[in-house]
């Protein structure tokens, strides 16, 4: 019973939040809504018994990612309303709805759902986090390590990119301008 | 002699690679000597060939990728022997007659690579490798037309390439499906043609597979209505390209019919016999009429090739020893004759830089030698007895007569129409007064051209008078193939048909 109530509440909240993210003109609102939506998503994880992921979701998304966005936003000075020139809204909505229906059709179709079998059934007597640890460090060890490296690379890349001096390019573009003027 | 087939297939390519190191000035001599050695090798092959053995000889077999049944499998029988000989011979002659100066080294290397692919197509027995050679042969030809052709060469080259390439895609599908069927039936993967021969395929499947192979071969032959790449390719190709294209490349298509379509899918071949025969007849008449309307000498010969290939196809689908042997012999004779005719057009093009018949007239008095050789080739082309052209045409038509006399009659109009366009061409170019001042000073054939043409003339006459050694060798293998077809046919009516068309008596 609680599960049902929780599910619907979280669903409503998440959908609401994300809709704000997509539709809001104010970047700050959008970001805040996104952060909220992330937290509500973690709620689903808890309902589904994936405590570990729930925690990761909160820390990584709501913590790290959102913080990054916040910093970015400060940089771009997006407190003003975002001016967007949107064309063909109808196409956008039609496509989205169409894809949603198709995804649902695929996911809910019996021929598909019936074909799924558990590869690594979770053992009832062990906790979720323990299980994840077991699977992560056996079956998914290599992907895990690769993910780690990827994160490292991403971090370095982010630092390098953000701190890159733009002087060279600016000079070049100035030169280009000069050339254009001469022409 | 154990590895002579490998040697024959790969010698030109290896020599072509080494050719990059040869000095530009001696490239031509190098090319001629390589092709001459290749021709000698083929002659050695013929000498070593056991004429009383209808099966594959000089077989080389070594697995390449055993898990999917791909192997390196070479072998020669009466059907392929002479086509390989023809290839090496024509390549040699074409190189001797070569008159291009520009970038001649690259041209010769291309020709040598082309020779490898052509010989490979005829000698390989592994179907995947066959397909590889089949497709590879397009590349040097594309290059030859595209780099040394005349004004519209790129259009012609691309058209040639894409058209034939598109056709063979379906063949690849067919090949893979065939291998799948073979695996289904035996549990073993194999792409070896002799293995496939033993496979009986359900009737409906045969129809589809036959269609897949047919398209590739039909475009190559080229059969109506897939022929339009040919006039462009011939019109734009340099002389050497035209010679090889007409003499050998077209034969790959008709060889495919004999080697694949008939023995692999006998029921489908019999089932599709009449539609194909009708197409062949259309080819014969239609191409002959178009040839008559042409103004360009080379186009006349290009369309005449289509017309003659129609008779080749007809002979092949006669399903009897006379017809198939005749059609293979006609392939050889057409290779020699059309090669020579293209060479002759090249000779006059080198002198006058035009191929339009209206620019000539009265050449017989200015260039008597040229006119004589041209006349001989022309007569061989219209199938005069005691010239090489007659034997194949006679046998092909004779063979098909057993299947249908009315169709033979229609196809036989080819010999009338052939005479019409060829004689008209000859009259327009060689007879009459010399009307153009430029033509008065034309030189007759020079030593180089004579060296190239005299062997062709000699062959035209010799094989016209005494074709027997070639015919009997071909006949042996053809009969073996017919027995195979009759035995493996699913539908008893097919077997009955094959037996019937191979026996004397009872024709109306």
């Amino acid at each position: 019973m609680y599960e049902i109530i929780a599910f619907y509440i979280f669903s409503a909240l998440t959908i609401g939040m994300f809709t704000i993210v997509v539709l809001s003109k104010n970047a700050l609102y959008a970001m805040s809504a996104l952060a909220g939506g992330m937290i509500f998503i973690s709620g689903f994880f808890f309902i589904l018994g994936a405590e570990f992921l729930g925690v990761v979701q909160i820390t990584v998304y709501s913590g790290a990612v959102m913080a990054l966005y916040a910093f970015g936003m400060m940089f771009f000075d997006t407190t003003r309303d975002v001016k967007e020139n949107i064309k063909n809204k109808k196409i956008a909505y039609t496509l989205s709805i169409l894809s949603a229906i198709l995804i649902l059709a695929i996911l809910c179709a019996p021929f598909f759902s019936g074909a799924i079998q558990a590869n690594y059934p979770s053992l009832q007597n062990t906790g979720n986090i323990q299980m994840i640890g077991l699977v992560l460090f056996t079956k998914y060890l290599v992907p895990f390590e690769l993910a780690a490296i990827m994160l490292l690379v991403a971090m370095i890349a982010g630092i390098v990119l953000a701190s890159k001096k733009m002087d060279l390019e600016e000079e070049m573009s100035e030169e280009c301008d000069v050339v254009k003027e001469v022409k | 002699m154990d590895h002579i087939l490998s040697l024959i297939v790969f010698f030109p390519a290896v020599a072509g690679l080494l050719g990059f190191m040869v000095n530009k000035d001696s490239a031509r001599a190098y090319g001629i000597s390589v092709s001459a050695i290749e021709f000698l090798l083929c002659l050695v092959l013929w000498i070593g060939f056991d004429g009383s053995n209808a099966g594959y000889q000089f077989v080389e077999y070594s697995p390449l990728i055993p898990s999917i049944g791909m192997s390196y499998y070479l072998g020669v029988d009466g059907i392929s022997l002479f086509l390989a000989l023809l290839t090496s011979f024509i390549t040699m002659i074409a190189l001797i007659s070569l008159s291009i100066e520009k970038d001649v080294k690259n041209l010769i290397i291309s020709v040598l690579f082309l020779e490898m692919t052509m010989v490979g197509v005829f000698l390989i027995l592994d179907v995947i490798l066959f397909y590889a050679f089949w497709e590879l042969s397009l590349v040097p030809m594309l290059y030859i037309i595209g780099a040394w052709g005349s004004a519209q060469r790129l259009y012609a080259a691309v058209k040639f390439f894409l058209y034939t390439f598109a056709g063979s895609v379906l063949m690849l599908v067919g090949i893979l499906y065939m291998a799948f069927l073979y695996h289904d039936a035996t549990g073993v993967w194999s792409f070896a043609l002799p293995d496939w021969y033993l496979l009986q395929i359900p009737f409906d499947t045969q129809l589809w597979l036959f269609g897949a192979f047919f398209l590739a071969f039909a475009i190559k032959v080229p059969m109506f209505p897939f022929h339009t790449w040919l006039p462009y390719a011939h019109g734009q190709a340099p002389t050497i390209g035209s010679i090889i294209l007409a003499a050998v490349l077209l034969k790959m298509g008709s060889y495919g019919f004999v080697r694949f379509s008939l023995p692999l899918f006998p029921d489908a071949a019999v089932y599709f016999l009449y539609p194909i025969a009708i197409i062949a007849i259309i080819m014969v008449i239609y191409a002959a009429m178009v040839a008559y309307a042409q103004e360009d000498m080379k186009q006349v010969i290009a369309y005449s090739s289509i017309s003659h290939m129609g008779i080749v196809v007809l002979g092949t689908f006669a399903m009897n020893a006379e017809g198939i042997t005749g059609s293979i012999f006609l392939m050889l004779s057409h290779g020699i004759v059309s090669g020579a005719l293209f060479m002759l057009v090249g000779v006059i093009y080198d002198r006058r830089h035009t191929k339009l018949m209206k620019d000539f007239g009265g050449l017989a008095s200015v260039m008597p030698g040229f006119a004589t050789v041209y006349g001989i080739m022309l007569m061989a082309s219209v199938g005069l007895p005691l010239s090489i052209g007659f034997v194949g045409e006679f046998l092909s038509l004779a063979g098909f007569y057993k299947v249908s006399w009315i169709m033979t009659l229609l196809a036989g109009t080819g010999i009338i129409l052939g005479a019409i366009y060829m004689l008209t061409l000859y009259k327009k170019s060689f007879f009459g007064e010399v009307t153009h001042e430029e033509n008065k000073g034309l030189k007759d054939l020079n030593g180089k051209e004579l060296t190239a043409l005299v062997p062709l003339v000699a062959l035209v006459v010799i094989l016209g008078v005494y074709p027997k050694p070639i015919l009997t060798t071909i006949d042996m293998s053809v009969k073996k193939m017919l027995v195979l077809m009759e035995k493996k046919a699913i539908d008893p009516n097919t077997s009955k048909f094959i037996i019937n068309v191979n026996s004397i008596g009872g024709t109306k």
Binding site: L95 | N320, T372, Y401, L423, K427, P467
Partner: protein
């Protein structure tokens, strides 16, 4: 004896090849002499064989295998029997004389050597044709003579009309050859062999409809070579060739090949008398048809050509009605007097500087006595006056027609005989007698060289006496060919002979009477029937209008409209569609990320849809 067979056959080939070596050189007298000598050698060998066959019967030689595929075996085999040896003798005899004659005739031609090469090649082909022991061998000769005829008609290739006529002759012959080829195929698939003896043995037990078909197909072949209606137009045009060629090929030998074929297949045609009768009817028709065209023509050589056509018709009547030996006999006598007529005409042409219009000649007797006498002899023989050769053979043919109860045929031939006599003497009168027209054109005729006249002497002699060999000929030939029994009473026979002779003589008399008084009035030329005849019944024009022109137009149509505009355009259109799609879809790549994302989503939707609607394994 085998070596004589080979000598008879290959001496002409050797001659042709040897002379061909000098073909491109300017005139060399020895080539002509060499060729004549070798053909003469062939003639001698033929005569030796004639004697031998007479004594020992037929000779059969197999040289080597030729084509060998499936069940089909064709050897190069030769048979010298009563029929072929007669043909050989006739061919080589006429050929030798024509060769010698040509040395004089072609004296001033710059392609003298080439001419002899072609001429000898023709003799070789003709020898193969008559000597072969199988149908395919016959076909070799058949096509070979066609080729040589093409070469020789178009010998003066710089003349447009000559090369045109050459092509016409070759192509018309090809049309007929296709029919013959079909006949050969049918023979092969019925019997499995092309050998005459096997085929003729087998046809006796075969279904009559198939024999009929074979007979028809073979006769179609014969029609082309012997220029029977409707394939006759080429023969008159073939007169563009040098006159010796006309004498040899288009009078004496090649055109009679069709008759030879029917005679050779006599055993086959006896089984199908209805086809034989059709052949005879066509022959009778052509005999009158061609003679009528000869009545008014003014071209010296064309008159003789039509006469040849008409005489071929006579031969076909005889052959069609089963009187094979008579056909062969007429073939032989005709060869003698007709080639004589042509060669005489050649002398006249030379004298007149290649003027061919007989209206422009006249009174040549004064300057060309020998030629005039020879041509008169030939004309008399042609007209069929006793005791000249034509009388014996032609009269027999009329007798046969009458005997067969085919009175229409007989009547046609009878009329034809009258016409023949008339036009022959019209020609003689206009050329040799009457008023001299030629001085008006500044021509001073002169007699040919003496050796040319001497060369013609044997033909003249034969034209006179050949008829007396009738009975020995019959005895010799009917050892192979079937006898022909005439059931007419002696009285009827005599009446027929008298009638035929009467109409021939009256034809001659009429011609002499009319033309000694200056000929017919000009007003006749405006009559419709004159127009019809002088235009050869408008048949050549009809062919040009309704066959050649439509063919040319259709060919151009097929090329430019169907091949380029439809077949090729379809291919190009496919390419253009592909190319155009590329150009159009390139606009998707407008660099706008938002649009690209949209396309991405479209792709995703499509894939999702595929995932739902396409399930191959279920």
């Amino acid at each position: 004896m085998e070596k004589f067979v080979y000598i008879a056959l290959f001496a002409p080939l050797l001659s042709s090849l040897l002379v061909a070596l000098f073909a491109a050189r300017p005139k060399m007298l020895f080539t002509g002499i060499l060729a004549s000598a070798l053909i003469g050698l062939s003639m001698v060998a033929s005569f030796v064989l004639l004697i031998d066959v007479n004594a020992n019967g037929a000779l059969h030689v197999k040289m080597m295998d030729w084509i060998d595929a499936g069940n089909l075996h064709v050897p190069f085999g030769f048979v010298v029997d009563q029929v072929s040896v007669i043909m050989m003798v006739t061919v080589t005899l006429v050929s030798t004389i024509v060769h010698i004659y040509s040395i004089g005739y072609m004296d001033h031609d710059k392609s003298f050597n080439r001419f002899f090469s072609y001429l000898s090649a023709f003799v070789f082909s003709m020898m193969i044709l008559v000597m072969s022991d199988n149908f395919v061998g016959l076909f070799i000769g058949w096509e070979g003579v066609g080729l040589c005829s093409w070469l020789l008609i178009g010998f003066w290739y710089h003349k447009h009309s000559a090369s045109w006529a050459a092509n016409e002759a070759f192509i018309m012959n090809r049309i007929a050859d296709l029919g013959m080829l079909m006949g050969l195929f049918l023979i092969y698939w019925q019997i499995g062999s092309f050998q005459y003896d096997i085929v003729f043995a087998a046809v006796k037990s075969m279904d009559i409809t198939i024999v009929t078909t074979i007979g028809t197909f073979l006769f179609i072949g014969a029609m082309g070579k012997s220029a029977q209606f409707p394939l006759h137009t080429w023969l008159a045009d073939a007169m563009e060739g040098p006159t010796p060629v006309s004498a040899l090929i288009h009078a004496a030998t090649m055109v009679t090949a069709g008759v030879y074929l029917v005679i050779r297949c006599g055993e086959l045609y006896t089984l199908i008398p209805h086809i034989g009768f059709a052949i005879a009817s066509l022959g009778a028709f052509v005999a009158v048809f061609a003679a009528s065209m000869a009545l008014v023509n003014n071209d010296l050589k064309r008159i003789i050509a039509y006469s040849t056509l008409s005489q071929l018709g006579y031969m076909f009547v005889a052959a069609g009605l089963g009187a094979y030996w008579i056909a062969l006999f007429h073939l032989m006598t005709h060869a003698f007097f007709k080639s004589l007529l042509f060669l005489g005409a050649g002398n006249v042409m030379h004298a007149m500087h290649d003027e061919l219009n007989i209206k422009k000649m006249g009174g040549l007797y004064g300057s060309m006595k020998a030629t005039a006498i020879l041509m008169s002899v030939a004309s008399v023989a042609l007209a069929g006056i006793y005791p000249f050769a034509g009388f014996f053979s032609k009269d027999k043919i009329l007798e046969v027609a009458f005997n067969h109860g085919a009175y229409y045929l007989w009547f046609a031939l009878f009329i034809g005989a009258g016409m023949t006599a008339f036009y022959s003497f019209r020609l003689v009168m206009l050329v040799f007698f009457g008023e001299k027209e030629h001085p008006k054109y500044g021509i001073h005729p002169h007699e040919a060289q003496p050796f040319v006249i001497y060369a013609l002497m044997p033909l003249g002699l034969l034209a006179i006496i050949a008829g007396f060999f009738e009975h020995s000929f019959e005895g010799f030939v009917t050892r192979l060919l079937s006898h022909y029994e005439v059931h007419l009473s002696h009285g009827t026979e005599w009446a027929l002979i008298a009638g035929t002779s009467a109409i021939a003589i009256s034809g001659i008399a009429f011609a002499i009477y009319m033309y000694s008084r200056g000929g017919f009035s000009k007003s006749l030329e405006n009559r419709a029937c004159y127009k019809l005849l002088i235009n050869q019944y408008f048949i050549p024009k009809l062919y040009a209008m309704y066959i050649m022109r439509p063919f040319t137009v259709l060919s151009h149509f097929i090329w430019q409209k169907i091949d380029v505009k439809i077949v090729d355009a379809t291919v190009d259109m496919i390419a253009k569609i592909v190319y155009g799609t590329g150009t159009k879809t390139r606009q998707m790549q407008n660099g706008n990320l938002s649009d690209m994302l949209r396309w991405m989503i479209v792709g995703m939707v499509v894939l999702l849809a595929l995932a739902i609607f396409y399930r191959p394994m279920v």
